[in-house]
Symmetry: C2
Subunit: 513 residues, 2 copies
Amino acid sequence: MSTLAVRNLAPRIRAVSQLPVTRNVPTSTRLLGSLSGKAQLPIGSSPSNSAGISKPTTLDSRVFPVHYSSSSYSATSHPSADLQATDISITFPSSPAQSITLPYIWLRDSCPCPSCVHPSTRQKLHRTSDVPLDIKPKRLTWVHSLDKDAKWALEVEWDRPLWKHDTGSTGVEGHTAAAGHVGGEGHRSQYSERWLKTWSDESKVKERNQDSALSMIPWLAKDLAEEGGKSKLFFSYNEVQRDEKALLGALKQLTNYGLTVLRDVPTTITGEWELEKVANLLSHVRETFYGPLWDVRSLAAARNVAYTDLDLDLHMDLLYFENPPRYQLLHCLRNRNVTGGQSIFVDALQAAQTLWKEDREAFNLLATTDVGFHYINDGHHLAQRHKTIVVDPSSDPSSSSPPKITAINYSPPFQAPLPSSTPPAFYQALQKFAATLRRPEGRWEYLLKEGDVVVFDNRRVLHARRAFSGGSNGASAAGKKDAECNRWLKGCYVEADAVADRIRVLGTKLRVE
Amino acid sequence: MSTLAVRNLAPRIRAVSQLPVTRNVPTSTRLLGSLSGKAQLPIGSSPSNSAGISKPTTLDSRVFPVHYSSSSYSATSHPSADLQATDISITFPSSPAQSITLPYIWLRDSCPCPSCVHPSTRQKLHRTSDVPLDIKPKRLTWVHSLDKDAKWALEVEWDRPLWKHDTGSTGVEGHTAAAGHVGGEGHRSQYSERWLKTWSDESKVKERNQDSALSMIPWLAKDLAEEGGKSKLFFSYNEVQRDEKALLGALKQLTNYGLTVLRDVPTTITGEWELEKVANLLSHVRETFYGPLWDVRSLAAARNVAYTDLDLDLHMDLLYFENPPRYQLLHCLRNRNVTGGQSIFVDALQAAQTLWKEDREAFNLLATTDVGFHYINDGHHLAQRHKTIVVDPSSDPSSSSPPKITAINYSPPFQAPLPSSTPPAFYQALQKFAATLRRPEGRWEYLLKEGDVVVFDNRRVLHARRAFSGGSNGASAAGKKDAECNRWLKGCYVEADAVADRIRVLGTKLRVE
């Protein structure tokens, strides 16, 4: 949070505000820049002219007066700023010099001062739409930053207030009342060097949000091994509970690869379910019509193939939902005297990227053709359509690398009849995708052990189960007690947001420590 | 579920299968159709030739033999079927005659027989990608349907089996083992008239899924009144609990308008929270970092403007989530000796459609420009980007009616600084949208009464609250007991899928009763 924190600079602001806002600069003020409102006309000290005192130039009569000064108590090298028609161009005295160009409207809207971003709630106190389109700086000053990671801060005094919308037209007026002088004439914003460098640069914003820790890495089975052959997938539940670094490792494994296994999770079947604790360690349980937690055991007259001892083909869960749950947890409570029943996981994201490389047309068909999924059984009627491959609409279709894929929707057992108008080429495209998913190099097969909790990303990783024998199956299971069950998984779903939240908070904490 | 149910026709299938699969039709079989494999060549009896017996025509030598017959015990009018290169064209003897054309591959893939769709789990037992692209009918027969809503069923015997993928390459083989003869030579599919008419027609599929009960109706405040001036929004909680028709009414009000109020919900503040029961009546609680249920009361050092007595501008909750929760519930537990605090709701979907009509360029900018939202406070770091208007990518941009809008993302208090590269025109577009949202005719303002639960669609309806005075606010609230609180809302979030599920199930049930 410190990146946004700009402490209250009121005393200094008052000191600076004593400077008369005119073209005639008092001699008591040590100018480090010059004046200009002309588009493209460079003004201010260059990095090599760090203490360059220059006289105010004549202003273009069309533009506002700008008073550009440093604070009076420092003369060390500071960045320079050039005013253009609608932007400020700032050059940092680094080697090589780094320049950024920032629109006035963007700067005013993003003002991080305590009157614009509430110091306690961190909520923004004006609307982007309250900023006049033609707002301009009236005075620029380089001041010493109070942000410990930055030396200088750019103070901008604005030429006009924000728009206010009275209660009669909006029904809401409060933020202006709450924020005091927001919207007042001559609002002063301060932007530290670090703030400017972060928010002007997409890659730094992503770094700040730790996007790389959250990004999906497509995998084949071989990619799940560390150097030396050890699997990346397994984490000790004990360790993850007591060591935040281990927890962060497991969470990042999950977000990056969409698959991780926690080992030695207590399998007690009386009292509270340990799985709920695991879910709360990662996120929050997302309850569905299957309940908050549910059981995978073979049953007579099963309402789901999962609840039999049959083979269960590669699929995803709950695609008949608008937003299928992101992560699925399966806790192996019992697996004894059973033959078969291996779990299989395939990264459908990797398969989709492979398809993109091998058959662009098939990829595009899967990204644009609706497939329906439904669950109409047992007192429920759920139905939803999805594209098989969900491509981020911001992706550039002409790019030479695969577009950003946000989710895969592939679950043959829950498919509804396709729209009868489905183009014939779609069937061929789906066959190619299915063939890619079948490639042995993509498949990670594993027999769950009692105490394992496998966690996987239900929006990208397909799961399957081989048939088994020896589990309490069919009618014979009906009379059995829980403890007598030979094969029993307990499952639940959790959402992605809390996982990302924990990764960012732990990431920041562990970097700092 | 009855629409999909095709009962086991094994005895009849066996009877029909005694017909030799050759071009020479035995005289003992009463033919109601003729043979052809030629594209576009109409075959079979026309509707006006209901019992028309015709001799087999000579088959084009390139195509497979087709045996097209009725079952032997009926001669009443049945639909006709024409075989084309890759499709069957079926004409129903209605007035005017209704024709549909269905691809072979689609028909085979969609076979609803108990070997293709498991009778108990209702899950599909093969993959669309298992159907050979060039599969064709070998024999067509009109038989009496066992579906009570249909007279005839088309039986198709297929010329080749489904593909099988052995365990070595897929790791999954089971569904074939489970399903018996799926994939075998000469699989027979039966499609009742009703099944054919439903699944060949998008509008009927939508009707089956009760899309109109779920569709979003854009509104202005005046549209919330029934004829005669009574508001559509209010439902008695008592009635909704005991009368399924009232419950269905409230649920449809919610899905159609995104806003409803349940009245006289018990406000007991000891023991269990009634709000949890309300949430479970509609759906399931979606827990977030605010907890399963949370309180809106004014607090000292609030971490959220909601927890103050300040005005709270129009916004949506949790847009820093990947999938913000769909519905929000707010239960007014206490509201006494308080001035102000009215709730305001605006349909942002209506505003977006208005913008589409008035300024297409602004609409398109809002549909394509990323806006970041974040919550970086209080031990959390959540961040996400969304488009302000989310347009269904299947929408036709050249259509003369507004595209399908799946969600609006508008929440100024939680905005992060925009990307600095945001085009200047976006600011103008956002101002137009904000101005549209401010129009008084769109605003429904209401002072929550104790016992009210307002439920609204957080993905389309904005909410706001006027400032109030007299609630236990600031530091003075800290020492107060719950019962002494003057203004207290309890809230929670629920997802959309269970709401749609309940609407469909109740809709089917109440239509049948």
